[in-house]
């Protein structure tokens, strides 16, 4: 296996990690952009999605069971997100730092609940038959690179979901309302947009996508009560690098963060790669403090 093959393999791993980061960060970027809410329990939505897909795969068998599991994960995380919005978050609008703390509390509760129900040891979802196997490259300078179907599936899922969310925002009536509230909440409200419903829908959509990410994640790693924790910090870095509430920015940033940390891991230990990633983010905001894609606005005080 040549050196270029190692780099290519790592690049591929980076892109598949980036896909999960992207799915996790989409909801964060949406709810942060539209509602100025920082949802620390977002990682736990990944966890919930993972456990739901595990349960579904236990109950349903057959080649398409996993697709059903993804549906269940999406719906379950959506519902949980809606519940969270109605019970806690709507009392905290306009206080982003406080939403951060309150949702951290929620995430602790969810983690402990998962530990009580499923135990501290992770559960595994076995990938369906049609995802076993991999694309192997035998010739050329990339000889020896192995691309598992599972990871390709995750990348495809992320791209499809990103496309669907983008279509939803750009082409549907709900997307129009969402953009209106994002641009100017008061004006949208004055024109008769029910901002309460838009907030609820945005938040639930975001957590639902995170649930989907959890189901995808369950294919490549065991689901543990703390699985969300290990992704949430990176997902937030993606949001910071990507820029407030910008889908394109989030996608680009997820790619940068995922590939950067996978690439750095060729040369150094995982923890040093973490530190380097953080340094890069701090350096990055020196040049573009509002992220890759700036949302232009004349408002002076934003979040």
């Amino acid at each position: 296996m040549g050196e270029s093959a190692v780099v290519a393999g790592q690049l591929f791993n980076g892109i598949s990690v980036a896909s999960i980061l992207l799915l996790a960060a989409l909801g964060l970027a949406l709810s942060f952009g539209v509602m100025k809410v920082i949802n620390m329990a977002h990682g736990e939505m990944l966890m919930v999605g993972g456990y739901l897909s595990y349960l579904t795969c236990q109950a349903v068998h057959g080649p398409l069971a996993f697709l059903a599991a993804m549906g269940v994960a999406f719906a379950g995380a959506c519902l949980l997100g809606a519940l969270l919005e109605v019970t806690v978050i709507r009392f905290l609008y306009g206080r982003p730092l406080d939403t951060l703390l309150a949702t951290w509390g929620v995430s602790l509760i969810l983690q402990q609940a998962a530990r009580s129900i499923f135990g501290a040891i992770g559960v595994e979802v076995t990938a369906p038959q049609w995802l076993n196997g991999s694309v192997a490259i035998h010739r050329g300078f990339l000889a020896g690179v192995n691309l598992p179907y599972v990871r390709i599936f995750i990348i495809v899922t992320a791209v499809v979901v990103l496309g669907m969310v983008a279509l939803f925002v750009a082409r549907t009536k709900w997307g129009l309302l969402l953009r209106a509230v994002h641009q100017n909440r008061e004006m949208a409200a004055a024109l008769g947009v029910n901002t309460r419903w838009v907030d609820l829908a945005v938040f639930a959509l975001g957590t639902g996508v995170a649930g989907l990410a959890g189901a995808a994640l369950a294919l490549i790693a065991p689901v543990t009560p703390t699985v969300g924790q290990s992704y949430i910090v990176y997902a937030f870095l993606v949001v910071i690098v990507g820029g407030l509430g910008s889908l394109t920015g989030a996608a680009l940033a997820a790619l940068v963060v995922g590939v950067f940390s996978a690439g750095a891991q060729i040369f150094m230990s995982v923890s040093l790669a973490d530190v380097l990633l953080l340094v890069m983010v701090v350096v990055f905001i020196q040049f573009r403090p509002r992220g890759i894609i700036e949302t232009r606005s004349r408002l002076l005080d934003e979040s």
Binding site: F91, G94, A102, V106, I109, L278
Partner: protein, 387 residues
């Protein structure tokens, strides 16, 4: 006696009670109280950073850890003979002491390191982030990533940091034996002295011009800019001060507990530190100390009695404090005021109805007044949201 004298009297009484505690408490409880007081130095620092500066730091554990490791390195070296290496270095095959370990042979370097290393790191981070006008939520998330990176780095660089187990097995500090009960007792009073000094110094600071501008920055950073001030240096100083206090707190904590490990410097402990202050009241110095003691004693008690319950309690505490008591216990009367008033109004209305039913009179118009009051509060809320 007016309110501020009453407050001061209560605070003095609490201080006297704490100073006399070694006479009354068992050795175990005293050691708990001592370590929690050490933590409350950090909480006092968070009051200025978060309560007055409006800067939420989710990485305070990093500065705590830097101070703690600075002292722990000295403690580790103090127990060794000439030419000996710390045990974990020998296990991982290191054959000589790196220079940045070597300098901690000197007590003064360690003492300076406890304060200066966290202070300088905090100042550098704050400068890098705030000068580009990145703040608020972004800063909180960056500090959280910092806490994650710091803890993983400590664990992975086992040859230099002792890895997951951290640094432990200390014997003496500045020539005194750590095990000596008399030393333990003096350490308690020294810790209390630090708490009192930090308390008084910060209270003085809030009264100065610096404190007033810091508060003004929190409430309207852009307005302060329009008035011709540059908020950046103020925020950097506040954050560096918080970092220094966190470092001192870490060093004291290490002396009390005799061990420092990455588990006390990562993401989760950092956010727990925020809870202490949130419970006590983020703007109140006395609240910070009280919150730290309450939450930690509560944690000790609950997690030993019902280990599974602690995280539930902690999560619930977060949610409740933020939604119901945003100003913590210190601000409870203020936060709960409107609710209590509403309950009182409701009772009054019910009594009125009963009376009117008895008298057969027309329905009272108090309900309308209450509705008007409700409208008034919600307008106020709207306004504060637009700020």
């Amino acid at each position: 006696m007016n309110r501020s004298t009453a407050k001061m009297a209560a605070q003095t009484a609490a201080f006297v009670a704490l100073a006399l505690a070694p006479q009354f408490l068992s050795a175990y409880n005293l050691s708990l109280l001592g370590r929690f007081l050490a933590l409350s130095v950090l909480a006092l620092g968070l009051t200025i950073v978060w309560g007055w500066g409006g800067i939420l730091s989710l990485g305070q554990g990093v500065f705590f850890g830097l101070g703690a490791y600075a002292l722990a390195m000295y403690l580790k070296l103090a127990g060794l003979g000439a030419g000996e290496l710390p045990d974990f270095m020998e296990w991982s095959g290191t054959d000589h002491l790196p220079w940045w370990w070597g300098i901690f042979h000197h007590a003064w370097v360690a003492i300076a390191g406890v304060v200066l290393v966290p202070m300088a790191s905090a100042a550098a981070l704050a400068w890098l982030v705030f000068r580009r006008r990145v703040g608020g939520v972004y800063f909180a998330l960056i500090t959280q990533a910092l806490a994650l990176a710091f803890a993983t780095l400590l664990v992975s660089e086992q040859a230099f940091t002792g890895g997951f187990n951290g640094l432990t097995d200390f014997h003496s500090v500045f020539g005194y034996s750590l095990m000596d009960p008399a030393f333990q007792r003096s350490l308690y009073w020294i810790t209390l002295g630090f708490v009192a000094a930090a308390f008084l110094a910060l209270r003085w600071l809030l009264g100065t011009r610096f404190g007033k501008i810091l508060l003004a920055i929190r409430d309207g950073e852009n307005r302060i800019r329009f008035l011709g001030y540059n908020p950046v240096p103020y925020k950097i100083v506040a954050f560096a001060l918080g970092g220094a206090l966190a470092g001192i707190s870490g060093a004291l904590f290490t002396l009390h507990v005799g061990v420092i490990s990455p588990a006390m410097a990562g993401v989760v402990p950092s956010i727990e530190m925020i809870v202490w202050v949130a419970v006590g009241g983020r703007e109140s110095l006395a609240g910070a100390v009280a919150g730290t003691l309450l939450v930690n004693f509560g944690k000790d008690w609950i997690s030993s009695a019902m280990p599974n319950l602690w995280l539930f309690m902690m999560g619930l505490l977060f949610v409740l404090v933020v939604t119901v008591l945003p100003k913590g216990l210190a601000g409870a009367p203020q936060s709960l005021g409107p609710q209590l008033a509403a309950i009182r109004r409701m009772r009054a209305r019910m009594r009125e109805r009963k009376d009117s039913r008895k008298a057969g009179a027309r329905k009272s118009c108090l309900g309308d007044a209450a509705a008007a009051a409700c409208r008034a509060t919600s307008t106020a809320e709207c306004e504060s949201r637009h700020e």
